[in-house]
Symmetry: C2
């Protein structure tokens, strides 16, 4: 690569791009870890994008109509941090750049959403950013259709590497974007032919151009170090109704001794090589020094959008007060005040009617109440709409000719669905929820974890939540999936026992601002157990006394979801034998753990044996409630699963696996000695 | 669809295919659940495949050189059960077919490996079968290179539906197969244009032909109901060096009122419609009745391969005794007898040398000993070879020009790697292991679960297993992943504390015949703690006393992996203060749980406070050991994680998150009151 030629051909461009490269080299050197090569390879693309196309204002990072820039190749975080620092984002100080990858800095190893302004999503696990981007672009389409171009009309740009494109989830994302003709989605592929193990060819020979075209994308191919070609490609990308992939031929670690090698992917910290690279760049500043003229050129880019932003604010101010308030509300993740009252009315009606329905149906009934009020919801399912009961009556299907549609047929793409839902909520203005069978939590896991880590309230509707699914058999019967989600920090796992608890769970899921929710719902019918109307959302406490002992309390049965019915039957049997028995319904362990100790002790007092009942593995967080956090609190047992399920009718499976009222009674007696 | 024309055009073919359709309708009707449409749509393809091409012998279902037939669209299980019954597999009796989806039957809702002969892999979770198939085809290539065409020379056939192709993992599988020119892999795409939610177009408009071609596949397009076209396509597929995808245009639920509709996907149980469909087929038999001539025609197909099979046995018998024994051994999943001695010698050397290395490096050291002996291993990594330390010194890279290569560069495809590894072990003759960062367990989860469910001993090497990973930050730091694997039935999770335990874990992983293993290994260096040589594999007991109290035992510290070092330091501090402290190393909770109660009590006697130390969530199965299974056994505490990690150097993270010897000492004192 003739660096000198690049420098002299476009000196103004070069110096700006070199600033990114120099800061990257310095920060990685200081941290003695990180990834130098990608920012060095993609600095030219990023510079042209930010200088000439990206609609943003560094002084207003939350402007709802900004273009979104997503670094899907998150290991190249110094590219983003450099851009944010250079363009003048207030919080991205030079000090933060100097503290790259250190405790307390906002400059984490990979970009972490919420750490610094301008980080649109957390990336690093490959394939996630490009898949989030589909949700960003869908959100923009929906909001543009609802609020008009005056308020919503922006692009979503992505930088993705070979790793992103090899991950399967990228195929789900690409085909979704093509199917829905997301023309405002523009992906730069950092085509540097290098992965950690060596050249891409070691593991992959996919013709990415053909692959994207097979999914109805526009594909452009350019030299990723030619500023004019980059500019022209972006201009062309903005003009089509298809999503565009710009294949950028680049050199990883451009200008460094490790250029074009897998060594160049990682941390380049050798002093002499660093010095040589900077010399090749014509960079004379010391570590972390950016010449004043270069910095001010970058700052001009950072403020380039301020006029456009204030014009947007003027347009917003012209809207009706109601419209303005609604727009602010949905971007603040607030719910309308009247939601609470409507849910209370629904609960009152259900308590009276006491329907016997599966909680997946309860969920649909609740959504029929919620969705007409919470108009920013977007529902969907991974090709199980009729089974997940995720489509409420008022919803039409999102499509190229119905951008206002609020229901998405995600196809058989659980992972892509979860990632795109994260993108929607990160974009703002949308509250997404999507369904699949709970067993396929497995497919969506990487994105579910990131929702928790990013602190965004995505809602995962997981139906058919136990052996109660029946004949489809163990491949479709979750036993460990409650444990999986419960072991994940910042995740609410709701397993409601009836329609009332299901409505309460939905209320909590949608009023959550920073915690994703998993709704664990049954295939099989369940009776209404909350037949006494309570205006208060009891699920908010995580657990509560559903039925107390009639006589001296000797046993406490703790159950969730479909097994609360079994606990109630066991209580009847035990009390008939004079054994005073309390039933605690525990729809959300995480919320119960968040209550004060006094309440927890009130619900689970010492002095009685305890039996937990849940058609799942005991490892799912049970022992804390059964044994007490420090132990020695109670004698306890568990009725549940200790193996995979089997294929048979649900009733037979409950009998065969011993999850019955009779088994519960026997366990209590055994513990009472 | 003109069924009459199909019938008259090829009556012999038709009656055989109709038998599949009729059995499917009857079985689904009897079960009142299941999926009728797919077997009805693909019966013609399957009939031609089995009649004219598939190399198999129903009387010898384990013949190592049989062609493999994988029903990736596992919901169409009645297609497979019909074929197995009709061709005369001994265990697939008519009674089993009649008991479709019932308790105890081998005819589960989805095909379950191990239930019936002829089920090559468990399918149902979409995309898995086609991805397993890549492993099958790679295993065949490797074994053919090693043992010659005389012993190994077969095809792997797959039926995949739209669901399989929409799942992201299929892209990983397709691109792997193309990269490695797996010419003996032949995939039939059931192109029926229907998914559960409606037509495919609702969610996807991918040009599958172009997509497969972009990954270097041969693609053929045929009418999936034309026997001659099917036959010709298979013949053409067998002739190329590329993998072949045969796009079969089919009608779901052919001949039924629900044909070509999403309703046709599910259970077709209406009596009148069932009768009408059978009439259209010209099928006169009662429920589950197959005319004698049709059954005998199918049985002839089932025995068609017996001559070829005996010829193969003759060829095997001609090999040297040593070669024969080796061939039998690898297909029996046995290890060579001398492995144990070599591992003992390694342990003795390590106990003396006491190296301070990361356990990922310990793992490489162990593999350097094991791989030259266990020549059926195939290692690999999802583009983290240097980080996972999975490539031992003697391994060369599997490639188109080196089919004997035993190391696979899987690319950035954790899910595809896991699924293909399952395929390798299912094929037989190969013991696969593959690495990634433990956090990306998330990506591989669906296949890891299936390894456990299928009872196959795939080995997942998960390095960088805690915040000890350091600067890459929380996206790369597992905290819940030990819990995830421990909550999964039939999975051994090994978290060794040093090189000796790592070698023991490898020995157990490779001697396992029915349980997959997860090896949880550190990035950071650890001292050798097992400096006293023991010939016995102590890890086999799951937990053991590493260091006992010098004085009256007041505390037991239980730790795993990198935290055992911390426990040992805490013990020193506590004993210096006169608090007798035992340290229990617990490298595998599952194996400890499998010990008899006497041993468990010996290791964890009552009467001392207990503190668990693990840089992960407490939900990962800890309470059973801390509190006792029925509670009231001990006062206990836990030193670990209760949130996601952060980006900083590892040492700082351990301090900040309070996972230190000092914190352990404080916890013990608090519990002792």
């Amino acid at each position: 690569m003739d660096i000198a030629a690049l420098r002299t051909a476009n000196p103004d461009h070069w110096s700006k791009a070199a600033a990114i490269r120099a800061l990257t080299l310095d920060a990685v050197h200081a941290a003695n870890s990180g990834h130098s090569g990608m920012p060095m390879g993609m600095a030219d693309v990023a510079t042209v994008l930010f200088e000439k196309h990206l609609k943003f204002d560094a002084s207003a990072p939350n402007w709802p109509d900004r273009d979104r820039f997503i670094l899907s190749a998150g290991h190249g975080s110094m590219l983003l941090y450099s851009l944010l620092h250079l363009t003048g984002y207030e919080d991205m100080t030079l000090e933060q750049v100097k503290n790259f990858r250190q405790w307390g800095a906002i400059t984490a190893g990979h970009p972490e959403y919420g750490h610094a302004k301008g980080i649109e999503t957390t990336t690093g696990p490959l394939g996630q950013g490009i898949s989030n981007a589909v949700g960003f672009a869908m959100a923009e389409e929906i909001l543009r259709a609802r609020y008009g171009k005056a308020l919503q009309d922006h692009y979503t740009y992505v930088i993705a590497g070979d790793g992103c494109l090899m991950e399967g989830v990228s195929q789900e994302a690409i085909t979704l974007a093509g199917r829905h003709a997301l023309g405002k989605l523009i992906v730069f592929w950092d085509n540097n032919n290098i992965t950690i193990d060596g050249t891409v060819d070691l593991a992959d020979r996919t013709d990415q151009v053909k692959r994207f075209k097979s999914a109805e994308w526009q594909v452009l191919e350019i030299d990723g170090h030619d500023p004019q070609a980059i500019d022209e490609a972006i201009t062309a990308a903005k003009k089509t109704n298809k999503p565009t992939m710009i294949a950028c031929k680049t050199h990883i670690a451009l200008g460094h001794a490790a250029q074009d090698t897998s060594k160049g992917h990682g941390a380049l910290t050798d002093n002499a090589q660093l010095k040589a690279a900077k010399e090749a760049y014509g960079w004379t500043g010391g570590p972390f020094e950016v010449p004043a003229d270069v910095k001010s050129a970058w700052e001009a880019i950072g403020s380039r959008g301020s006029e456009e932003r204030t014009a947007w604010e003027d347009r917003l101010a012209e809207k009706s007060e109601r419209r303005q308030a609604e727009f602010a509300r949905i971007f603040d993740r607030d719910v309308p005040k009247r939601l609470a009252g409507q849910i209370r009315a629904f609960k009152r009606r259900i308590a009276e009617e006491a329907p016997k329905v599966a909680t997946r149906k309860s969920s649909e009934m609740a959504l029929d109440v919620i969705n007409p009020i919470l108009t920013e919801t977007v529902g969907g399912s991974a090709d199980l709409s009729g089974s997940n009961n995720t489509k409420s009556g008022d919803m039409t299907v999102f499509d190229t000719d119905n951008r206002k549609g609020r229901y998405v047929h995600w196809g058989i793409r659980e992972h892509g669905m979860a990632a795109a839902m994260n993108g929607m909520v990160l974009h703002g203005g949308i509250r997404p929820y999507g369904g699949t069978f709970m067993c396929f939590t497995d497919y969506a896991r990487p994105s579910m974890r990131l929702a928790a880590l990013m602190q965004v309230p995505t809602v995962f509707v997981m139906t058919h939540d136990s052996i109660g699914l029946g004949e489809d058999g163990p491949t479709h019967q979750p036993v460990e999936h409650l444990a999986i989600s419960r072991a994940t920090p910042n995740t609410w796992v709701f397993r409601p026992c009836d329609t009332v608890e299901t409505a309460e769970a939905w209320e909590l899921a949608f009023t959550s601002k920073e915690t994703p929710s998993v709704l664990s719902l049954t295939r099989q019918g369940l009776p209404t157990l909350r037949t006494e109307y309570k205006s208060r959302n009891l699920t908010e406490q995580g657990a509560y006394v559903l039925a107390d002992s009639d006589s001296k309390r000797q046993a406490i049965l703790i159950a969730t979801g479909s097994e609360v019915e079994i606990a109630m039957k066991a209580r009847d049997l035990l009390q008939a034998e004079g054994i005073g028995t309390r039933v605690v319904s525990m729809p959300c362990m995480e919320l119960f753990a968040a209550q004060d100790e006094a309440y927890r002790r009130k619900v689970l007092p010492a002095g009685a044996v305890r039996v937990g009942i849940e058609a799942a593995m005991r490892n799912g967080g049970w022992d804390r409630w059964l044994l007490g956090e420090r132990g020695r609190e109670a004698k306890a047992g568990f009725i549940g699963m200790s193996s995979f399920g089997a294929s048979a009718p649900a009733g037979e499976l409950y009998q065969q696996f011993g999850i019955t009222a009779q088994a519960t009674v026997a366990k209590v007696k055994e513990l009472l000695g």
